[in-house]
Symmetry: C2
Subunit: 418 residues, 2 copies
Amino acid sequence: MNSAEKLNDTLERHHPAAHACLSQRGRRLFFPMGIPAQAGQAKEASINATIGQLTDGAGHAMAPAAICQHLEGITPEEATLYAPQGGNKALRAAWKERIQQSEAAPTSSPFCTVGLTHGLKLVADLFVDEDTEVLLPEPGWGNYDLIFGTSCGGNIIRYPVFDGHHFRQDAMRLALSKIKTKGVLVLNFPGNPTGYTPSADELRPWLEAIRESPKPIVVVCDDAYTGFVYEEDRITQSPFHDLAGCNPEKILPVKIDGATKELVFFGARVGFVTFGATGPAADALELKMKGAARASVSSAPAISQSIVLSALQNPALDAQIDKIRNVILHRYEALKTALDTANIAYFPFNSGFFTLIPVQCDPEELRLKLLKDGIGVVSFARFNAIRIAYSSARAEDLPLLVETLSKHISVDKDPALH
Amino acid sequence: MNSAEKLNDTLERHHPAAHACLSQRGRRLFFPMGIPAQAGQAKEASINATIGQLTDGAGHAMAPAAICQHLEGITPEEATLYAPQGGNKALRAAWKERIQQSEAAPTSSPFCTVGLTHGLKLVADLFVDEDTEVLLPEPGWGNYDLIFGTSCGGNIIRYPVFDGHHFRQDAMRLALSKIKTKGVLVLNFPGNPTGYTPSADELRPWLEAIRESPKPIVVVCDDAYTGFVYEEDRITQSPFHDLAGCNPEKILPVKIDGATKELVFFGARVGFVTFGATGPAADALELKMKGAARASVSSAPAISQSIVLSALQNPALDAQIDKIRNVILHRYEALKTALDTANIAYFPFNSGFFTLIPVQCDPEELRLKLLKDGIGVVSFARFNAIRIAYSSARAEDLPLLVETLSKHISVDKDPALH
């Protein structure tokens, strides 16, 4: 049986926090015994007339040559037929192995999504409504507001990541105390737009506060920038691994990651949602996710999944990624040096793709001035800052960028911010 | 300006029906001047440090060889970098040209989605909530219920496509009269699971009723199976083209289609949403769609879009698709002959991928019996029928399928149903 009521009952028994945090939509969601489910059962049939895709009747694709001619080393079946709901099984297994490489926290099977945004949205579908406090990092990614607030109607509460130039260790306990009945907490390290990753010591009070949360919460670890950490003393594992064994009466940890940044494959749209849950609770969450995904995109792109799977199986991949990461590390160092030389204040950064520069002037005006000088940056009105994405600029261009910037801004001479 | 209020005001002035039909979420949606918008403005900058993707600083991709080695005839930039929000511009233009080939109804620019389901979901996000009647065909695709009902909370009303063995010409007027304040109507020809397309004469009373709808409605034409029509006297154009010039006080027509079935590229997840609207109304709808898409998947897969664009530009494509269509036509004829020979009653079918067989027994039991005999079909409890997808079975296997079926069912001898 797979009605919404059954799934809700299973969660209530096996994961009270997940059950308490369900949104109205989340309570309704289930995965109907519809066409994908029935087609799944008919895979071994000698005549399989279940699914509305064109095959030759023996499981082979019929895609036109105008499409297949672009494939190299993956078959038309792998690229042009539907992927299963929830994702290619071998890919899901390979990703699970990857995220458990160094620490084997108990988790569900990673659920394949259309990029990380889709993972955030499916989790929001399950857990965010008008009765949900959503705790977002400030500074934080603007799209969180659109997903959790505008689209899903949650009550946004911002918690500060920094206290001036320091990581704000007491921020989490205060933020969690503001939840009225149930909450969703987003953690994002390395952060966008901050480029910040805390040390284990800095993070510890946050983890303690989370474990002692007075209300049930879903903790979403947005691990988009996994692996891009440039300083020795920073955490290299997602907080998800610390939380995955948490009390299911209180906390449901969720890991959201994917190939977008981690494998440098932005155009694929391959993301994953993994729950810190196992057994019947994980099975029930999987079916609710399948329902939410079926109602939003149906299956995720097969071609992207097949290429990502092949890359994960390729023994050369890690060295290739390391080489790319070293290029970015070099840019990181060049930018830091240029900012220090120009005596420009910045929020602390040590990882990811960005640095965030607080400005005294109107950041949008500054952005437009820089644009006239041929330099593109992103402005954030809410936290009076501009963001430099050194992920998309050459190391040798960064001194000119900083020099131009320093001409336009009121230089903040406060050395404490460095 | 691009606040939700501005967009709502624009729609109220330029497309009152679209404005009247907005859901609560649809009213809130807008496309923030966030990172994608600011990055769009910085495209010509000599140093573009706006966007969080890895490039060499001159716009070139940095994806690892383990990924790029699978590409043939498309560049790493086309496949591995982000596609723009709303889709690749050249692809959107090429698709617009394609859908306007035979009839140039005034439309918006096709908005690229992650397959057709995503198009349906974005439209549901804009227009469906608890105060919306959603009129769905019966028999109809089960996923409509999940999208419009379970996920978006609309009030589902089913309208009958058939009256016994005939297309039900008076169904539409009756269905439209049930809308309380605003509605979404889904039309689906060729139909899933019916495999039915009406003649122009059959459809006329439906179009008349729609034009005279007592309440404002969004008419969603789900044109997934465009082109797969096997009988001469059937409509070959979507009803969208008849409705695109409709009174904007009353009706917003929407066309949903894509490469999935039409170009036989199921694994791509490339769909399109096109509105029967132009000018400021189309612009406002585009921005609301961009907001909804940004909050659900952000950009759609670039690799799929680039391959679909290349295929559309390939002069060999049409002949390749024709050849595939002829294989399916042959299966269609073989199935019809086998059913007639076995004297098995079926709902009328003439197009698409399916036929629907009404049964006297429990269709789920029948499905499981057939599965034991090595034959996979889909059962529909609600309309007591099984669906045969001849899209995925060989013509030479269909007689055995029908023979096995006829052993299991109580053969309905009513010749009127043939």
